[in-house]
């Protein structure tokens, strides 16, 4: 029996092609059964995420199975450039190891893919489309994925501004469930950053924007509440995190204003995220003892550092994968 993998991902296919191959979580088992029917192979697993769809098969003849699979899928890519990559035997196993370890992901080292592949395997297993070859392969690949993540720093650090902000907020406040967030300005960046905080459990979001309707719109999106822009200082007394991204050509938050609410806040820690250019928060605000002020450059620099740290880890990850594959092949 020989192993093959045929797939397409964010590097080889645009979203309009990827969406034709996408399979919902609840349909993964059924998709694996269809795959076996299409190709006539004894074992198969379909892996599908927003960035990739991959077909893994164990067949008597790899070239024949590959040809048959290509033939069945050809119709779906009609009118587009060839989007597929193909791997056979050890190459297919190596590729799956990289996928599970996050080395082939759009966001290098991301962890979600591990669970997604596991879910796809479980669905196929439950649908009865796996056998000794793929069972052994996937079990090994999951242990390799775990090893890569625990023995290297491939998943450490945040690589986007939103996640860096979340990471810092968690370093200051721990769980965010008791933390209130104020968003100044309803632009795209503040929206993304606030969403990242909300997704990690931030208690509530208060939005202040010069155009009040936009504040209401964003607040509704995040189950928060909107306040008039002139009232932001009143809100500052209660919140823990402020994300500021207005288009103002001058600073909005100055030292005197923050000083004026320190006593009412009982000198609790305050995390200020300034992602506006020009900056919304005067840099002297960061001199206040309990204030942690980060501007867009600082956040971007942290994201860059995390990205380059992850890139440096690729060689280490590949070494682990090679060593484990060697064991699998013997």
């Amino acid at each position: 029996m020989e192993l093959i993998c045929l797939g397409l991902n964010h590097k080889t296919a645009p979203v309009e092609v990827r969406e034709r191959f996408a399979v919902g979580n609840t349909k993964l088992g059924e998709a694996s059964q269809n795959l076996l029917e299409m190709v006539g192979a004894p074992e198969g697993v379909v892996v599908s995420t927003c960035n990739r769809t991959e077909f893994y098969l164990a067949a008597d003849s790899a070239p024949a199975a590959m040809k048959q699979l290509e033939h069945c899928l050809a119709e779906k890519v009609h009118g587009h450039e060839e989007p597929f990559y193909r791997y056979e035997k050890a190459e297919a196993a190596r590729h799956l190891c990289k996928v599970v370890s996050g080395l082939d992901s759009m966001l290098l080292g991301e962890t979600e893919i591990f669970g997604q592949v596991k879910q796809a395997y479980k669905a196929a297993h439950a649908a009865g489309t796996t056998g000794p070859i793929l069972n052994k392969l996937f079990q090994k690949v999951f242990s390799v994925g775990k090893k890569v993540r625990t023995q290297t720093s491939i998943q450490e650090g945040s690589t986007s501004i939103g996640n860096v902000a979340v990471e810092l907020a968690e370093k200051i406040f721990g769980h965010l469930k008791d933390s209130e967030v104020m968003v100044l300005g309803a632009g795209a960046m503040s929206r993304l950053t606030a969403q990242a905080l909300v997704s990690r459990g931030a208690k509530s979001v208060i939005v202040a924007n010069r155009t009040h309707d936009r504040a209401i719109e964003l607040a509704n999106e995040m189950n928060g509440r909107a306040v008039r822009f002139d009232d932001w200082l009143e809100v500052l007394k209660d919140v823990d995190v402020v994300i500021s991204s207005t288009g103002a050509p001058y600073t909005i938050i100055n030292k005197d204003e923050v000083e004026s609410v320190r006593r009412v806040r009982k000198f609790r820690p305050l995390f200020l995220i300034d992602i506006a250019v020009p900056r919304d928060i005067d840099h002297s605000v960061g001199e206040i003892e309990e204030v942690y002020l980060y501007d867009i450059d600082a956040l971007e620099q942290m994201a860059d550092e995390a990205r380059s740290r992850r890139l440096k880890q690729i060689i280490e990850c590949e070494k682990i994968i090679e060593a484990e594959l060697a064991k699998l092949m013997t």
Binding site: K171, F173, F267, G286, A298
Partner: protein, 258 residues
């Protein structure tokens, strides 16, 4: 060499291993999962010492600066083992171990512990309660100071945006450190209150004994002031942590009057 000293040396070495190993692992970006077990070893060594020394004294071994210093290290270790793993305050052990080494190392210096301690003929309930509760209180206050140092390190890293390395990654969040610091200070104050009340009620044969109580009351008052300011007016984390560290260091002066 007496058996009490062997136990103490073993315990001190284990604490040193816990601290050094924890720091080395931290330098590689990780945290040691074994620190708590090393500290359990430290505690067992301390218990062995206390049992042997208590037998020699015929009373609780709290009769000299060296003995108090060791008892304080024991109390600190006990509170660490209660607080650290339960509240999952990572790195508390790595920061606590060096303090244990310092207290026990000082006691091991030549002239510290008597080889053959004088047996205690007469003990009083209030006297023993005063000694035990006060030193237990100091253990909690010492651990609060350790949490304070951890806060100051993290605060500095966040303010200066030096966010690389294992230390930053593994330190607990600012808010958790401040909450732990406050809880430990409350615990220390309650125990110290019991200790001081017992100190007032115990028989005082010399004027020095009263001085000791007065200084202890002064220490207690300083901690009360810090907590009242924190509760009523509010205080920045940095000042609160600095207060806890400074008060603990200054309050050790109370033992000069033992």
């Amino acid at each position: 060499m007496c058996v009490d000293r062997w136990f103490l040396i073993a315990s001190t070495l284990l604490a040193a291993v816990a601290g050094v190993r924890g720091l080395l692992i931290l330098r590689h970006g990780n945290k040691s999962h074994w620190t708590v077990w090393w500290m359990v070893g430290v505690l067992l060594g301390q218990m062995g010492y206390l049992a042997a020394r208590g037998e020699m004294r015929g009373a609780c071994p709290l009769r000299s600066i060296a003995e108090i210093s060791i008892f304080l290290a024991w109390s600190l270790t006990v509170f660490y083992l209660f607080v650290g793993p339960v509240y999952r305050i990572s790195l508390l052990g790595v920061f606590t171990a060096p303090v244990v080494v310092i207290f026990q190392g000082l006691a091991l210096l030549p002239g510290g512990l008597d080889y053959i301690p004088e047996r205690v003929i007469r003990t009083t309930f209030w006297g023993e309660t005063h000694s035990a509760m006060s030193v237990l209180a100091y253990g909690a206050l010492a651990l609060a100071a350790v949490a304070g140092v951890m806060f100051l390190v993290l605060d500095r890293q966040l303010k200066e945006q030096h966010l690389k390395g294992g230390l930053f990654r593994n330190l607990p969040p600012v808010r958790e450190l401040l909450v732990s610091l406050e809880r430990l200070l409350w615990l220390g104050m309650i125990l110290l209150t019991v200790g001081i009340v017992a100190g007032i009620l115990m028989p005082h044969e010399t004027a020095g004994a009263w001085k000791h109580v007065f200084v202890a009351v002064g220490v207690w008052g300083s901690y009360v002031a810090l907590m009242v300011v924190k509760r009523v007016r509010g205080i920045t984390g940095r000042k609160f942590a600095l207060g806890a560290v400074a008060l603990f260091v200054l309050s050790l002066g109370v033992f000069a009057f033992v």
